[in-house]
Symmetry: C2
Subunit: 370 residues, 2 copies
């Protein structure tokens, strides 16, 4: 997508050096810093410390992580042992991200039986790049499939502004291109539909106010940053027509793990009769999990992410402490929105209701697995 007139992705391979490069998203929107990932430890740090975040991008980063592992594999160790343990380490970097396991396993399975090191490295690189292209294409299709929901509302409002609320960043920064939740928004924007996005700031890491607002602003999409507390009031007063969010992991029964606070917006949408959609590539479905609230492990992150806030002061990014220095904090990173509160899923294959039956009808090849 465009950043100051230049085409950009959140992860790419340097054409000459073949070094993996990522935008350090912790520094946005005030600084655009690119980091080189030379080692598996670099890749793990980029995932764990959230240089990269968002389910699809984490999956692609994991895939490139296997390429990095293949490149760095020592001559004197059994490749299988080394690769297996490096892949295990990569998969442990973020516990909630099913895409991470998927991305890592897909590259690993592709190269595990290749003996020649150079061929193995080449195959890992090609597979990781294929996964990146696949994610970009999936997001393009999510946009195509989801835009009709926005078009319908626009028609019903006689061309009046369609107000979409989104939580966190499920934009191109979280994916490769277009984003998931933002894909129908960008597609509607391209089609000249009058729309405006309410951007939940998304505490504690403010991915909404820092990243989604930055993306939408760079692209020229009308938007307004609000606190995570504000959505319910807006919905009560007819100021939201549609909610679209992304997801980090969704059960085949339709329970949605996403950034903490998503569940509260889903409750408010339901209470006010506002459609609540989840946009996702099908790789985000977990075909093994039935009960999202009981079965999806919720990552508890460093409480300092709650206690400190990063922002610009005097031309530099500074970190300020908000609560009393001796007050403890807790930092649950995700919550689970039960399927009963979700109106539908927007996937690369089409839109479906949030039920096991509808999901398996759209992905019949998974019926045997569940």
């Amino acid at each position: 997508m465009l950043v100051d007139g230049k085409q950009m992705r959140p992860i790419w391979l340097d054409r000459d050096t073949r070094v993996v490069k990522v935008i350090d998203q912790r520094r946005l929107p005030h600084e655009l810093i690119v980091e080189d990932l030379y080692t598996v430890d670099d890749v793990i740090r980029a995932i764990k410390d959230m240089y990269v975040r968002g389910a699809p991008l984490i999956g692609v980063t994991g895939a490139f992580g296997v390429y990095v592992a293949a490149r760095n594999a020592p001559q004197d160790r059994q490749k299988d042992d080394y690769l297996t343990s490096e892949c295990d380490r990569l998969k442990a970097a973020r516990p909630t991200a099913v895409n991470l396991f998927w991305g890592v396993d897909r590259v690993y399975n592709k190269i595990r039986n290749i003996e020649n090191p150079a061929e193995r490295i080449d195959a890992a690189r090609t597979e990781a790049e294929d996964i990146a292209e696949l994610e970009a294409e999936n997001c393009r299709r999510i946009g195509e499939n989801g835009v009709s929901i926005i078009e319908d509302i626009s028609r019903k409002k006689g061309g009046g502004t369609v107000n979409v609320l989104t939580h966190c960043n499920a934009g191109w920064l979280a994916c490769i291109e277009y984003g998931t939740a933002t894909a129908p928004i960008y597609e509607a924007f391209e089609k000249d539909i009058d729309l405006h996005v309410w951007v939940d700031e998304t505490r504690p890491l403010n991915q909404g106010s820092r990243l989604t607002a930055w993306e939408l602003g760079k692209h020229g999409v009308k938007h307004t940053v609000i606190t995570d507390n504000a959505g319910g009031h807006l919905m009560q007063h007819g100021m939201v027509d549609l909610v679209i969010v992304g997801t980090d992991r969704t059960t085949y029964t339709g329970d949605v793990a996403n950034k903490i606070g998503t569940y509260l917006k889903a409750l408010a949408a339901r209470d006010n009769g506002i459609p609540f959609y989840v946009a996702l590539p099908s790789s985000t479905f977990d075909w093994d999990l039935r009960d999202g609230i009981a079965e999806i492990p919720i990552e508890e992150r460093d409480p300092d992410e709650v206690r400190y806030v990063d922002g610009l002061e005097g031309g530099a990014v500074k970190r300020v402490l908000v609560p009393p220095a001796d007050s403890p904090a807790a930092n649950y990173a995700f919550d689970v929105t039960p399927a009963r509160l979700v109106n539908g899923f927007i996937t690369e294959r089409g839109v479906c209701e949030a039920s096991e039956e509808a999901i398996l009808k759209l992905f019949p090849e998974k019926s045997k697995q569940v």
Copy 2:
């Protein structure tokens, strides 16, 4: 209440100079600054810019504002004209705060027919001080009346920790002593009930993480700061036993205007079968309003309160910008929780259900008014 071993209130009259003094709550928890209010403009600024906040304290500050107006009344102007216009200005400082109108009118009505300036000033001072004492006493009774709810849960849990979630600051800083939402908590603490408070940080102004955490910490009450997004997840997982919040204005039908985001917590509490209580002195009931969502005007405040965050950095309080400099923001300060989501009201007179019938049964003298 105690602050570092010293008894303190958020507003008081200096014994010698009779100057009104307030804690500048914008500077907490990192700095404890006391401001002198010499003029009605000082009082309005203290209310408008939120040196003082919270319904009961705003009411008391308005009452002291009339005392300041009486003290500063010019000799050469008709006292009635001057006082009336100064009271109107005071009442316009915060549109949602019914206590402000109540506090101002009560002192104004007491002194309007007193001709002698010295007597008028004395009467205004006495009345304002009486209102402050009344609020303190109301909060003490709210604590007495509400503690049984916590005691019941403690008994059901066999003495296990009772987890209370609260939003914003309805503590002694918002009142005079004890607080409203915190009064049953402090009372339970005095009774040695094992309890722990989840403190919503309460964006945008972080009154939870800045003020409630500070109050509870100073008093020794176990607490944990969480993002406003986290409550739903905690409730889904049995980590919240009870929600208690305050209110800025409540209709006689039971609709509750409170800090933005309260409605979302009420939805989550209902969805998880967790009791949701609102603690208030009866002065916060608005006996003229029937439909809270339609009729209570919601203050829209400066968007920069959303865009900037105050916190401690390098030993000084700094203000950092979070979203991109060119992204707009909106700042709705309150929302309305409909009566159907409220389990009950904890008042100085007792506990009642959130219905017109139950409220008027507890306050039968108001039946004629509504």
